[in-house]
Amino acid sequence: MESLAPRPDHELIAASLGGDRSAFGALVLRYRKLVLSVAYRICGDRALADDVAQETFVRVWGKLDTFRPEGNWRGWICRIASNLTVDALRRQNPSVDIAQVSLAAPGGQPERRILEAERAEAVRSAILRLPVHVRIALVLREYEGLSYAEIAEALDIPLGTVKSRLSDARRRLGQELAPYMEE
C-alpha cells in the first residue's frame, strides 16, 4: 500500500474532499497533536480534550468543502478545535486530574519531580483561570506558535485585539506565576 505520510497537506485535503478517507486519516494523524494540544490547554481535562479532538476532526470532515485552498489550514483547524472546546466547557465543568500532571512531569530526583509537578499544576491552574478568549489567544501563540495574523484569522478578530489579549494574558500570568519563574 502506498504511504500517504509524505503527501503535502493540500493534496490530502483535495483527496479528502473527494471522499478519500485514507487521505483524511493521514491528516488526522498529522494534526492530532496540534488539535489535542489546543483542546487540552484550553480545557485542562485530558479526557475532554480527547473527545473534543475527535469531534474536531469529524467537524473538519463535514466542513472541508468550506475551507478555502488559499487559507491557513492550521489556523482553521485551531479555530474549530478552540470553538468546540469552549462549547464543551460550557456543557460541563472541567475536572482536575492531578495524577496526570504528576505523570507528565519529567524524570529525575524525586524532590525535583515534585517541584516540577507543582510548577506544572500552578501553570495549568493559572492558565485555566484566564478568561477563555484570552486563554485561547495565549495557547495559540505560546504553545502552537501561530503568528499574530494567523491568530487573528483563526479567531476572526482584529490584530489589535490579538495583541491586547496576549498582553492581558501575560500580565496576569506574570503576576500569578512569579514564584515559579526562573529569571
Binding site: M1, L17, G18, G19, D20, R21, S22, F24, G25, V28, L29, R32, K33, L36, S37, Y40, R41, R46, A49, D50, A53, Q54, E55, F57, V58, W61, G62, K63, D65, Q100, V101, L103, A104, E116, R119, A120, V123, R124, I127, R141, E142, Y143, S147, Y148, K163, L166, S167, R170, L173, G174, L177, Y180, M181, E182, E183
Partner: protein
C-alpha cells in the same frame, strides 16, 4: 532614555519588521530596564512550557480509529456543488418572469383599453389629450397582432426556459451524486 516596553512582546514573538527589530536590539544593548522586561517575558514562556499535555504520544492509532468510527456513524455530508450552479435555475426563473411581463404587456394594455371603454372613458381621446397622438384603427389592429405574436413567443420561451432550468438542476444533482463523501474507501 525612552523605553520600549510596548515593542517587547512583539519582539519576543518575532513579529517586528526588520528595521524595528534592529532598533529594539540597539535599545536593549543600552537599557537594563527593557532587558529585564524582556527576560521576564522569556522566563514566562519557559515557565508556561511546564504545562505539558499528558500522554500526547499514546493511543495514536486508537484515536484515528475512533475518529473513523465517528465518521462512519455520521451520515456523509452532502457535497454542495461548487460555484454558482444553484443560481442558474433562479436566474432563469427571473428572466422568465421578466420576459412574460414584457410580452404580456400589450395584452394587459388591451384589457385596460377595453375596461376603460366599458366604463365610458375614451382611451383614444385620452391619448390624444395627453400626448397629442391619435391612434388609428389600423394602428390598434397592428398593436393587437404584435401582442398576440409576442404572447405566443413568450409561451415558447417560457417552456424552453423551464426545460433549461430543469436540465440545469438535474445536472447539479448528478454532479453531487457523482462524488459522494464515502465513496473512495481504500
Amino acid at each position: 532614555m525612552e523605553h520600549i516596553e510596548h515593542l517587547l512582546a512583539a519582539y519576543h514573538d518575532a513579529e517586528l519588521p526588520e528595521r524595528t527589530r534592529r532598533h529594539v536590539e540597539a535599545h536593549l544593548e543600552a537599557c537594563p530596564r527593557c532587558r529585564d522586561e524582556l527576560s521576564h517575558l522569556e522566563a514566562l514562556s519557559l515557565t508556561l512550557a511546564a504545562y505539558a499535555v499528558p500522554h500526547l504520544d499514546s493511543g495514536v492509532q486508537q484515536f484515528r480509529a475512533q475518529v473513523a468510527l465517528r465518521l462512519a456513524r455520521r451520515r456523509p455530508a452532502a457535497t454542495t456543488a461548487s460555484g454558482w450552479w444553484y443560481l442558474v435555475p433562479l436566474a432563469l426563473s427571473c428572466v422568465l418572469v421578466g420576459l412574460l411581463a414584457l410580452f404580456t404587456l400589450p395584452d394587459l394594455l388591451r384589457v385596460a383599453w377595453v375596461l376603460l371603454e366599458w366604463i365610458g372613458v375614451e382611451p383614444g381621446a385620452l391619448l390624444e389629450l395627453r400626448i397629442g397622438v391619435q391612434l388609428s384603427r389600423g394602428a390598434v389592429a397592428v398593436l393587437r397582432s404584435v401582442g398576440t405574436l409576442a404572447w405566443v413567443a413568450a409561451l415558447y420561451a417560457a417552456l424552453l426556459l423551464l426545460f433549461g432550468s430543469y436540465v440545469g438542476w438535474v445536472s447539479v444533482l448528478w454532479r453531487t451524486k457523482a462524488r459522494p463523501r464515502s465513496g473512495k474507501e481504500r
